[in-house]
Amino acid sequence: MTQTLRRLTETPSQTAGPYVHIGCIPTFAGNPGIYPEDLGLRAIEDGALGEPITITGAVYDGTGWALRDAMLESWQADAAGLYPGQPGADPNVNGFCRFAADKDSGDYALSTIKPGRTRLRDGREQAPHIAVWITARGINIGLLTRIYFDDEDNSADPVLSRIEQRPRADTLIARKTGEGRYRFDIRLQGDNETVFLDM
């Protein structure tokens, strides 16, 4: 026998289901009026410093079909690499944004500013990136991934460097398609399955 360990176990996840929009973005779901506006409508406010960017893409299942019912959340640093709440962070950067796949096409869009490099406890730098969390019917525990950028130096990033199969790291890199515009598709399964993180 031993003493009883004073630890609790995390509550298990369950799928967000097809109606996640009702609870998280009710105006998007067609139920306006309960709250003044949906939570996380904007990653940034007017006056945010940095390069404005728009990232578009879709979330594909293992058959190549774009999910019409996915909800995504993003979390990022400001242009100087500071997260909201850190001393000196840009007050016009909310950092957090909620957005959903279009119910007809499956496309999503995230408008924000490009984040700066962030630093780890041991001094290493992370390349500019946006964390993304994906929930939907059929996803039993939310999937965490990151959006990096193909016009940045990603060579020393601690997360990308940990991916043994180098071509798989490309699944985390958004492709520039125009001035301030990037494409980032998420593949839940199948060819070019996105790298998902357990961090």
Partner: protein, 246 residues
């Protein structure tokens, strides 16, 4: 070295065995939506250790009252009146204060107010089905709502969801983000539900079943159910400030 004076510490690695499996053929939609390759496991970084903070100023007075919030207090929703309350803690047993808790649910007949829900149980004109609140200094929260109905869903030939309330909880870091569902004590449909049983550890599934709490109820008004939630914790030791290897 900690990277900020307020460094709250790295997240405790997630115990994936406490969670549902990603791929479960009894829950058919998971078959094409579950990653096949292993997740990339790493120690958390500042990206996962920080997260959005929502102030109490976000909340309207009826945000945590689903009986009244769809009509802004004009008319109550139909159904069995219940209070759902509990605490949000982390794995170390500490309360998680000032964190946003959002819920959503079907109405008393098992129908969601959503464009894609075509079940023929009627909508309740006085029920929207979503609410939110922020935990207090002890991590406590509460909602007033109606007990949601069970409903059929297209999966196997005759699958029904047990009565449930969806939960979304933030915590203090993006890596603590959690969405789950609360079930009700005594509902026989829990044992038959393929979504509930994506959790293979029965003890873990039981933690999603809220007990009836008569002491938390109000005579001649509402019943109560208790639902506590545990989020990932943070590693905090006095050795944490030393450089690696020292």
């Amino acid at each position: 070295m900690r990277n900020a004076p307020t460094d709250p510490g790295p997240l405790i690695p997630r115990n994936r065995a406490a969670h549902p499996v990603a791929y479960d053929p009894d829950y058919k939609t998971s078959v094409s939506r579950s990653p096949k390759w292993p997740l990339l496991s790493m120690e958390s970084t500042i990206t996962e250790e920080t997260g959005p903070v929502f102030g109490h100023g976000l909340l309207g007075p009826l945000d945590n009252n689903l009986i009244l919030n769809f009509t802004q207090g004009e008319a109550p929703a139909v159904g069995e009146r219940i209070r759902v309350h509990g605490r949000v803690l982390d794995e170390t047993g500490r309360p998680v204060p000032n964190t946003l808790v959002e819920i959503w649910q079907a109405n008393a007949g098992g129908r969601y107010r959503h464009i894609k829900d075509t079940y023929f149980a009627p909508l309740d004109p006085n029920f929207g089905g979503c609410g939110r609140t922020i935990t207090d200094d002890d991590g406590a929260y509460e909602f007033m709502t109606i007990r949601p109905g069970a409903y059929p869903w297209p999966n196997r030939a005759n699958d029904w969801r047990p009565m449930h309330i969806h939960y979304s909880i933030f915590g203090s870091g993006f890596g603590q983000r959690l969405i789950s569902q609360m079930y009700f004590q005594g509902d026989p449909l829990i044992d038959l539900c393929p979504i509930a049983h994506t959790i293979k550890d029965r003890g873990q599934l039981d933690r999603l079943v809220a007990p009836l709490d008569m002491a938390g109820s109000r005579p001649m008004d509402y019943l109560a159910y208790q639902f506590d939630i545990v989020l990932r914790g943070r590693r905090q030791t006095m050795f944490e400030n030393k450089p690696e290897g020292m």
